[in-house]
Amino acid sequence: MIQTRELTKKYGATLAVDQLTFSAAPGRVTGFLGPNGAGKSTTMRMILGLDAPTSGSVTVNGTPYRQHRYPLHEVGALLEAKAIHPGRSSYNHLLAVAQSNGFGPRRVREVLELVGLEKVARKRAGQYSLGMGQRLGIATAMLGDPGILLLDEPVNGLDPEGIIWVRNLLKALAAEGRTVFVSSHLMAEMALTADHLVVIGRGRLIADTSVADFVASASSGRVRVSSPESQRLHQLIAEKATEMGPIVPGVDGESPSFTVSGLARSAIGDLAVQHGIAVHELTSEAASLEQAFMELTADDVEFRAQDPNLAIHHQPAPVAASKKD
């Protein structure tokens, strides 16, 4: 269990984290979402006692992190991939971290096997790819077989196979009753991995909710209607709906279509039948997690492209996309 209360961090005049209160519970994957620069990493460093909060508090299993004496058995963390001396092999890196908390070579071999690095364990870490670095970071986090895992952007730099591996690993770890707290700026990835979401923007809490509720709350409630008599249907619906989209001509022989807001699918269907109009399509436009996230954080993005329409309304990024910085 991770709990923050009014957690705040100021760097000079910059408010990086602003009165953040949330908790990550055992037995589920809690996704920690936010655009770049939202304060995710700062929050994670404060959870681990690396940065001191300006005000507010954060506890891990009821105790501030720095009061834990040898905490690897309770908390495992991945903050940045390749936070290793480039001249040290991953075996020696893991051994040094393990020994500091009483673990030995046996456990090092176990975690190397878990992440699939046993063949390159004696190679100097400076030669590792970003993906291998992530696997080594996850191995480091797993050394103490902890009940709480904190992972900052763990899929960053992984290939599709690696992403699926991490996703399944996190779900399996949560299913064992562990607290899994994982940050990401990739909404689509979180939709597949997380059970619960903590969303922040500019250091402030935007949402603390289940994935399904998060999508629903930000869902547009729009319905797409397609009909060969779309002109007539459009006019009929316009009398009752709150908002209507323009009629878009159909492609490849499809009927023209338009969107409706503020009127249920059933009401639209009934209306069409009453007037004897054929309907070829009647679908709810469920917002993807990505769209929901974009809408909720639209005001809280620190860095944005010149044309806001480009930044906000583009298609959801593919799952395999990775952060480039």
């Binding site: 589920r28 905490p71 051994l95 040094a96 971290v97 500091s100 009483g102 103490g144 064992e176």
Partner: protein, 277 residues
Amino acid sequence: MTTTAPTFVSSVQPDHRPGIVGVARSEWTKIRSLRSTYWTFMVTAGLTIGLGSLFSLGRTSGRASSREPLSASFNAAGFAFNAMFLSQLAIGVLGVLILTSEYSSGMIRTSFTAVPQRGSLLAVKATVFALVTFVVASATTFATFFASQAILSRGTLNLGVSITSMHALRIVIGAALYLTVCALLGVALGALLRSTAAAITALAGLLFILPILMNFLPVSWHRDAIAQWLPSNAGMQIIEKTTQPLQFSPWVGLAVFAGWVVLAFASALVLLRRRDA
């Protein structure tokens, strides 16, 4: 979700009870697993033994002795250890890197999450490194002594002395201690400044440049009274045979040097606890 998931119980148990011994084991693993450790120790040993022998060779040649006539005050046992003016920097840089390489790679955050008691971590790190350094430095200074005496004993001047002669053992062990304190100064500066470039600059400034600058100050500013307190000036008294006016005696001098390092460590500890990592 919460209600259906089982309560997690780890099946993995530590091999040893977590404690200071484990942290020491971890720091030893860190030191021995880097090639740069071996290289820097070799450079330190090579510079001390090589330059010490070269200096000794200079002393045996006719020209040098005619320019500066020999007297009973010649410090045969300690003369070669003047070579430490250079090797002190090599060992100090290794001390700096022990810490700053963790900062530059981000490893320090892993270290602090594994051992949140930052003061203990720094203390154990410094102790393990000091012990390793003292072993290597002792081997180096004994080798330097015997090489130097073998060279000084050649020819007609026959300046060499035995290890059992007055002051010899104190000088040889003291020189190893001096190198160890230099290494610790590097660790303390690394912990204080966190950046490799800044810490190495500070190290070279303290040990190397400050004593030179002192020579250019007016004598009326009590230059010599102040200069004796400089880290390397005070520490290097450990290799002297006789104590000069306005210089500390050997052990007091080394203690003054160690005092500087203690001061640096104390400041580093305060900052280490307070600063964000």
